[in-house]
């Protein structure tokens, strides 16, 4: 184990690598690795919202799944290294590599809200069965106590308690996302990982769910790892923001530092690309990047962003730049910027 974790941190991720091997040829030999997460370190402090933002292929979703050990069961050949240290009053534990049994107690403390409210709820279960699922595994509550808890959770997330007997198909997308939130809250977790929790929702409903998540955070003293691609949403909810590109964090700092004073060329382009709800904006400050995001299978050597970077130098191809502090905890992984 590495050094003992800082007491302010609920989660410490150190040098996390997640590689998915690709097999090919007649002999099904390993031909390449998809380096979905390629050396990522960050902390989630108690009571904060850390926003993890990036485009497709950046590895943000993989990080969320690695934390709750969801990768091994679905892709047994996945290669994970690094540490994911979770700590609370009962001590610290590296979650990486835990087997099913040892992971079990942590599953009640770290819960997840998924992106797709249509596929993340079992269509054959009632709302009651969906929300009490985690309670059956993690608590000794009687059936009656569980039913009570489900009703009060439904009420808390803004659904009528009578809905407990209904099935997911009877609900709209926003209502289903509320059910997913109630399920995540059922075991009274400390950390909630939201994997694009509002991306699939209509604008007006998205605002409701964002408001709900913020209320619940205050009420239950939750900590969020909020994974999303929409920068305006991430800025709205987050205390700190980490920006990912092709498996690496390229910039991390307070929401204000990253959103208003971005330093990394990618962050600058990403923020300038967000359309603004203002018809008077003339788009003159917009940095339109050329080309597409490379696939993680053919990741460029050195800095992953160098193939699209407006200021790239030949030296960028040599090694992956590390995150360094540019003052007041504003971390940037680019040696070319001040």
């Amino acid at each position: 184990m590495s050094e003992s974790p800082n007491a302010e941190n609920l989660l410490e991720v150190r040098d996390l690598h997640v590689h998915f091997p690709i097999y090919g040829g007649v002999l099904r030999r390993k031909v390449a690795d998809v380096k979905a997460v390629d050396g990522v370190s960050f902390d989630v402090r108690k009571g904060e919202v850390l926003g993890l933002v990036g485009e497709s292929g950046s590895g943000k979703t993989t990080i969320g799944r690695a934390i709750i050990n969801l990768l091994k069961p679905t892709v047994p050949s996945v290669h994970l290294s690094g540490s994911i240290t979770y700590q609370d009053n009962e001590g610290a534990q590296d979650l990486n590599g835990l087997d099913r049994g040892t992971m079990l107690p942590y599953r009640s403390r770290v819960q997840m809200i998924f992106q797709d409210p249509f596929s993340s709820l079992n269509p054959r279960m009632t709302v009651q069965q969906i929300i009490e699922g985690p309670l059956r595994v993690h608590s000794d509550l009687t059936a009656e106590q569980r039913a009570d808890r489900v009703r009060s959770l439904l009420d808390r997330v803004g659904l009528q308690p009578e809905y407990a007997e209904r099935f997911p198909h009877e609900f709209s997308g926003g209502q289903r996302q509320r059910i997913g939130i109630a399920r995540a809250l059922a075991t009274r977790p400390a950390l909630i990982i939201g994997d694009e929790p509002v991306s699939a929702l209509d604008v007006s409903v998205q605002a409701q769910v964002i408001n709900l998540m913020q209320e619940l955070k205050e009420e239950f003293g939750l900590t969020y790892l909020f994974i999303a691609h929409d920068l305006s949403v991430v800025y709205h909810v987050s205390d700190r923001i980490a920006v990912m590109y092709l498996g690496n964090i390229v910039e991390m700092g307070t929401a204000e530092q990253v959103y208003f004073k971005p330093k990394h060329p990618y962050t600058k382009a990403l923020i300038s690309a967000v359309p603004q709800p203002d018809p008077r904006g003339d788009g003159s400050g917009r940095i339109v990047l050329e080309g597409d995001i490379p696939t993680p299978l053919a990741k460029p050597s050195g800095c992953g962003f160098r193939t699209r970077c407006p200021v790239a130098q030949p030296s960028c191809a040599e090694k992956i730049p590390s995150l360094t502090d540019r003052g007041e905890g504003h971390l940037v992984a680019c040696p070319l910027v001040e």
Partner: protein
């Protein structure tokens, strides 16, 4: 970037369009009497949430509603003096892709995976303009280069799976524009794309529209920010009806319908950080369950008793700005 334009001639006029789908023997009206004009050289946005009827409107213009279960029951779509809804299928095929072209949301499924990019881009040239292979190829290379596909003459023989999402959407735009249509209907063209790629595609569409001053774009989207940056005029739809329509600056400066105000309040803006967003309460009802009276009455924060009984009419409150709301219909007392 919104650009001021003189209003040109009307290229497309939709009058009282009514489209529905038969669900368990009952008709559910997805579009309930929609009328608007598209002027030459403008980018007109239609914005709305799921179930607002924006996509069904655009598919109705192209006569792409599957019948049954769908049915365009009423209305006219006037293009160059002809009502597209009365044309025979062979006549309509001559319009599609030539005079009015369309691009769709999913660049991954809208291209045929078993034909090369070149064959798909050249198809409409061969159909509409009877070009031979060599000439069609030349035009296709020209068009693909214009939409920013590098090394187009080689890429012509590639298959869709060899292209990224952004590149496929560029191919879709090339296919749509190759016969120089008067109207381009773009249904959520950037929704499936990453934000840096979205910026590229929107820039490309605006640029192409500027280069061809007389072409019009009908941009269907759920994203008011995309509308703000791209369109000259905007139509806000809810429950299959136009709720508000205005010039783009007028709409953002003076949003008038409670639904439009709610949509604008739902967008997280930097100055609202940490504060609750002013969300619209409730959910979009399913198509069978919209209330009678005003379609928005069940979610409206300014609702009045008679909103539940009488449907408000679309009323012009100042030149070019129309609103469907009893607060402005003179029936508010």
């Amino acid at each position: 970037m919104a650009v001021e334009t003189e209003k040109g001639d009307v290229v497309l006029e939709v009058k009282n369009l009514k489209t529905g789908f038969s669900i368990e023997g009952k008709m559910a009206w997805a579009v309930r009497g929609v009328s608007f004009k598209v002027y030459a050289g403008e980018i007109l946005g239609i914005v709305g949430e799921s179930g607002s009827g924006k996509s069904v409107t655009s598919l109705s213009l192209m006569r792409l509603i599957p019948d049954p279960p769908g049915k365009i029951a009423e209305g006219e779509v006037l293009f160059k003096g002809r009502d597209l809804l009365k044309l025979s299928f062979p006549e309509m095929r001559k319009i599609r892709g030539k005079d009015i072209a369309m691009i769709f949301q999913e660049p991954m499924t809208s291209l045929n995976p078993v034909f090369t990019i070149g064959m798909q881009v050249m198809e409409s040239l061969k159909f509409h303009e009877n070009l031979d292979d060599a000439h069609a190829r030349e035009r296709a290379v020209e068009m693909l280069t214009l939409v920013g596909i590098p090394d187009a003459s080689k890429r012509l023989d590639a298959y869709p799976h060899q292209f990224s999402g952004g590149m496929r959407q560029r191919v879709m735009i090339a296919m749509a524009l190759i016969c120089r249509p008067a109207v381009l209907i773009a249904d959520e063209p950037t929704t499936a794309l990453d934000v840096t790629i979205q910026a590229q595609i929107l820039e490309l569409m605006k640029d192409l529209q500027r280069k061809r001053g007389d072409a019009s774009i009908l941009l269907i989207t759920h994203d008011l920010a995309v509308v703000a940056e791209t369109c000259h005029r905007v139509i806000v739809m809810y429950g299959g009806q136009i709720q508000e329509t205005a010039e783009i600056k007028d709409l953002f400066d003076n949003p008038t319908h409670p639904y439009t105000k709610g949509l604008l309040g739902s967008i997280p803006r930097p100055e609202m950080k940490g504060k609750p967003l002013t969300a619209i309460p409730g959910n979009v009802p399913s198509i069978m369950n919209f209330p009678k009276g005003c379609r928005f009455s069940t979610r409206c924060v300014e609702v009045m008793p008679h909103c539940h009984d009488n449907e408000p009419a679309l009323i012009e409150i100042r030149p070019g700005h129309e609103v469907r709301c009893h607060l402005f219909s003179g029936e508010s007392e």
